[in-house]
Structure formats: C-alpha cells, structure tokens
Amino acid sequence: MKDRDNPLGDGLRHYILSCKDICKSYQMGATRLEVLKGVNFGVARGEFVAVRGASGSGKSTLLHILGALDTPDKGEVFFEGKNLADFSGRKINEFRNKKIGFVFQFYHLLDELTVLENVLLAKMAGGSALGWLACSDSAKSLACQLLGELGLSQRVSHRPFELSGGERQRVAIARALMNQPDIILADEPTGNLDSATGNGILNIFEKLHSAGQTVVMVSHDEKIADRAQRVIRLADGRISAA
C-alpha cells in the first residue's frame, strides 16, 4: 500500500515536520514574486536546524508555512506524517498552540500584559476559562519556573516595554516553551539584538536542543546559523545545500 502520509519516502519517516514541493509567491504591484519554488525539507525530532539565506530568500515565509501561520500556493506540509492541509480550523489552532512554539524577531509580546501573563497566554489560548481555572496554579508555577530558568524571575510583574530586547526575547522563548511544544520555530531570534545578547539567546536554544527540544531557526547570519546542528541554505527559492 502506498504511504500517502509520508510522501518523502520511507527513509524520511522519522521527520516530525516536513514539507514537499512548497511553492509560494506574492503579488508585488504588477509583478508576481516567486519566493519559494518547490522546497523539500524535513526536521527530525530533537534536531536543531538552521535555515540560512539572504534577505528576501523566503526563509521566514518557509517558517510561517511550516508553522501553519501561512499556507503554500502549492505543496504540502506534514506534521508527524499528517498533512496539515487535512487539518480542520480547530485542529490547526490546536497545532499552533500545542505542537509549535514561535519565537519572532520582534518578540511580539502583548504590552497590556505582564511578563508572567504573556507567558501564561500560550496556556490560556489553548483552553476554556473553566479549564484554565482548573490548571491555573500549575501553569503559573511552570511559567515562573521557565522565567526563572531564563533569568527573569525578578521581572515577572513587569510589562514588556519595561524590559530590554534580550529580556523580551527570553520572555518570548518562555512563552514558546509554555505548552512544551514538539518544535520551536524561531524567526531571526537574534536579529534585533546586539551580538552579546544574541549570543545569550543562542545559548538558550543550544541548551534546549541538548535537552531534546526540536528547534528550527531562521537566520541570515552565517555565524548564527552555524551554531545549529544542521544548516540548510535557501537561495533563489530553493534549498541549495543541506
């Protein structure tokens, strides 16, 4: 029987997240810009993969498609062998909430919430108010533990604009880890930070990787990408080397 759910072949069955022939283009005025032109790519559980490429090469677009924040024009994305296109809206939301942890270049924290609440938001988003009441204490202690591990235990009641860039990115990492996701997708996580602070963030990713966390990181910087276990180069909308 043909394995419909594993189109990359039996040899790649161990990939937790994979994509096949991903194409994506954008209309820019009168011209259509093809960003991804048939990308095939997979990430094994526990891997730390960096996707490197020049600005505009489609790294972030690929990451968004992998995380179901965007849909490809053509091609398929598989999570644990299941095609994301077959997921219902509710299941896609569940996938984003429980299976994926996003870390963005610009942190994307909510200014109205405290550091602790921003971290807890990931947990709150995945359940009902009643469900939250049942697990709020354990969630709070997990959030505090994560913030403590990331050196933010003194900052729990601060609001994002009261923090430095590095601190904000660490809050974003804590939020991404809150639901103990299968994969962390990090889009230029050090892009907005100085090299020392960025180095600290990369150390965190390395530490997470060594603890078994799957991480996919996008970066245009060769030195940063080289910190990953595996580096994939994206050029002209295609994987040029892996």
Binding site: D70, R96, F104, H108, D111, E112, A125, G126, A129
Partner: protein, 450 residues
C-alpha cells in the same frame, strides 16, 4: 481565560477606549436628558388635558348645542362606571372691563360648578377658592354678586421665573359680558329688525390656572345657567354644548366611552320625537384624547419625530464606535497576529473585541446615565442660576405653561437607553472585529514588522 483578561486589559490600558466610553456616554447623556424632558413635557400636557376635560365628552361643535342633556346626565349617573357628569357650554362673547373700558372677544365656558368640580380637576386650577371650589362663583368681597372665573393668563402677570404674581386680596373687578344669542335653528336672534344681544355684569371671583396656555389665555368661566341664558340656549328647550363624563377608577376609558356612545344612540332613538331632535345629529361621543386630538396629536407627533431623531443619534453612536473600533483594531492588528500564532481561533478573537465593545458600552451607558441623573436632578437649579446670572431661560415661562422643567426619570427609559448603547457598541465593533479575525496572522505580523 485570555478572552476575559485581554478585553479588560485593553479597556484599562488604552486611552482610545476612554474616548470610546466618552462618546457613548455623551450620546446616552443627550438621549436620557432630552427624552426625559420631552416625555415629561408631553406627559404633563396630556395629563393637564385629561384633568381639565374629564374622561369622556359628549359634545357638538354647533353653537346651538343640543337639548335633553339633564335627562341624559341622569341616565349616565345611573351607570355603574360613571362617577359624575357635568354640562358645559362653549361659546364666544365680548368681555369688557368696566373699570378700564378695555374689551376683547373671548371664549366663554358655562359650567355648573358643583357638578364640574366632581367631574374634572377644575378645583385644583383655582387660586382663591381652591379650598371651597363650590363657592368659586361667589366673590369673596360680596358673595351675593354674580361671579366669573377668569383664565389666569388674562389677568395675572406671569413672572419670568414662571410664577404668577397673584394678588394677596381679591380685587373687585367687574366685567360686562355680551353674547349674541342664536335660535335653535342657528340664526342670530332678533328683536324686531335689530340683532339682539344679551349682556350681564360678572364680578371677578377667582382665576383658573389649568396649565393649558391656550385655555388660560382665552377662557372666562361663568355659571352654566347664566351663560345659557346669555347665548339663548334656553330658547325653545334648554341646551348645552357638551357633557363631560368622569368614569370610576379602574374602568377602561375606551370601553366606557363605547358604552356611553351606545347609551347615547339608544337615548336619541328614544327621543326622536323631541322637537329639537335634529340637533342630536351633530353630537359626538369621544374619549378625552380624541376630543383634544388637535392639540395632543402634534405634540405626540413631535415626540415620535424626536424618537426618530434619537434613532439617528443611535446610528451616529454606532458609526462613532465603528470608527473607534476600526482604529483600536488597526492598532491591535499585531496583537491579533500574536494571538492567532498562539492558536487562538477566529471566534476567540471576535470574543475578545466584542467583550471590549461590551465593556465600552456598559461603562459608557453607566457614565452617561449617572451624569444625566445628576444633570436632571439639578436642571431646574441650573436653569435658575443661568436665568439669574445671564437672563437665559430654556423655555420662556411667559410663553410656556410650565413651572419647572420636567425631570422625572423613568427607569424603563434608562434600561432601554443602556441596552441600546451596549447594542450600538457591539454592532459598531462587529464589522471591524470580523474583518480583523478573518485576516491571516502572517499578514498582520509582517505588516507590523515593516
């Protein structure tokens, strides 16, 4: 839980939501204040009409009147739903002040004071004889003189504050009242070839303040029998222009009016051989509101127009909230992207912003209603202060028959306005919220990165 915490945080930590609350509060304040005052004015006007004209009126527009009224009143008073009935003559006459020599053509109303005070609230309109209204036609200075009651605006100066400058004593003023009697056929009665005119002198015995400006500025009341004789309504058979009927409390006015109408039809069919039976054809039986429709209907129409205008205010509120929420959501698009990246559903996003709209609506309604309550509680004091300081008066009391600006608040009005305010907020927020929830989070996040 995010859909409870986030609306509260967005509400408390965004200045723009305060502007939204103020916009709603302003609309609520305006609607509550104007509706309360206008409803009060209309209710006051209709209540005064009801009090003056009793519940049901059997009347004719003809100046000749109709006969056998005494017999019909006897029949009416035997009905279990009737308290009393009173004959009334409405006609015109020349009234000349015997001291100043000034004269004017005025409305004359002939009333049987004993019956009239039982049938209407006329007693409450009197000044000197309020405690002894049955003696209202007996001047205090000489009870043997024939008295007349004069509409308050004809004699008494009204101050700008709305109070009448009543004299502490009853002045002995006399009036020569002249009527031109009509025959039962409606022709002017003649003495030989000359038109006859009946005149009699009446002494000022009281004034009547019904609160109905047109009546208080044109009507002079004299005893029923005297006016009947003056205008020839005792020629042939005694006649009247109208019978005012008061129903017992708890009886439906419309139902009882229909019963009176049937009674009247029955009465005139039995009296078809009466020599002035042809006059019965012009008689109508109406409830007080129908009888006064010419004056009440325009006010009620104004009230309806006002409600329509305030529906427009409601639409403006919806539009303001729409614009404000469009701005809020434009500024919050990044947050929507973040929430979606965390797995929040479209309906979750809608819930967050609709709850924010609900908070804006509730707070706007509460602020608007509270400020309206405070304003209405002090509206007369405020108007008095404006009048004392700047001479400004919302309604000139020399013209409008109100003493105070009505400010009685109806809880149902507050509830309806508050519900409408919340509904307007939800409606105004719905479109931008649905639009925002439908956007791809990657588009929103990208836009905010640029």
């Amino acid at each position: 839980m995010y859909d409870i915490i986030l609306p509260v945080r967005f509400f408390l930590r965004r200045r723009i939501t305060i502007l939204a609350v103020l916009a709603v509060a302003l609309c609520v304040f305006t609607v509550v204040v104007v509706m309360t005052v206008m409803n009060g004015l209309v209710a006051d006007f209709t209540d005064k009409n009801h009090a003056f004209f009793s519940d049901c009126i059997v009347s004719t527009d003809s100046l000749v009147g109709f006969g056998l009224y005494d017999e019909f009143i006897s029949r009416l008073e035997k009905c279990d739903f009737v308290v009393s009935a009173s004959p009334v003559i409405n006609t015109f006459g020349l009234v000349e002040s015997e001291s100043s020599g000034k004269n004017a053509a005025l409305d004359l109303m002939g009333i049987d004071i004993a019956r009239h005070i039982k049938t209407t609230d006329f007693a409450d309109t009197l000044y000197y004889r309020r405690d002894l209204p049955s003696l209202a036609f007996e001047p205090l200075y000489d009870i043997n003189l024939g008295g007349c009651i004069v509409g308050v605006d004809l004699l008494v100066e009204r101050q700008k504050s709305g109070q009448y400058r009543q004299l502490s004593y009853l002045p002995m003023w006399s009036y020569l009242i002249t009527c031109f009697p009509l025959t039962p056929k409606g022709a002017l009665a003649k003495t030989g070839t000359q038109l006859s005119a009946n005149s009699a002198t009446f002494y000022y015995s009281d004034n009547s303040n019904s609160g109905l400006a047109k009546i208080d500025s044109t009507v002079v009341y004299i005893p029923f029998d005297s006016l009947q004789s003056l205008c020839g309504m005792d020629i042939g058979a005694k006649r009247t222009s109208a019978i005012f009927v008061k129903f017992k409390d708890g009886f439906n006015i419309n139902v009882c009016t229909d019963k009176v109408s049937l009674l009247w039809q029955d009465f005139i069919s039995q009296k078809s051989d009466f020599m002035l039976a042809y006059l019965f054809g012009t008689v109508r039986v109406e409830d007080w509101k129908t009888y006064r429709r010419e004056t009440i209907a325009p006010m009620e129409k104004e009230q309806t127009m006002m409600i329509l205008l305030f529906a427009l205010v409601g639409l403006i509120t919806v539009f303001i909230i729409f614009v404000i929420f469009y701005m809020i959501i434009s500024r919050k698009s990044r947050d929507i992207g973040i929430l979606k990246s965390l797995g929040v559903s479209k309906s979750g996003i809608v819930r967050v912003f609709l709850r924010l709209a609900f908070l804006v609506g509730i707070c706007g309604a509460v602020v608007g209603i509270l400020s309206a309550l405070v304003f209405l509680a002090n509206i007369n004091r405020l108007e008095g202060w404006l009048f004392d300081k700047f001479g400004f008066q919302m309604w000139n009391r020399e013209i409008y028959a109100i003493n105070e600006i009505p400010n009685e608040i109806k809880p149902i009005l507050l509830a309806v306005v508050a519900a409408c305010a919340v509904a307007a907020c939800l409606l105004g927020a719905l479109l931008p919220t649905l639009g925002a929830a439908g956007r791809k989070c990657v588009d929103v996040l990208k836009v905010n990165q640029l």
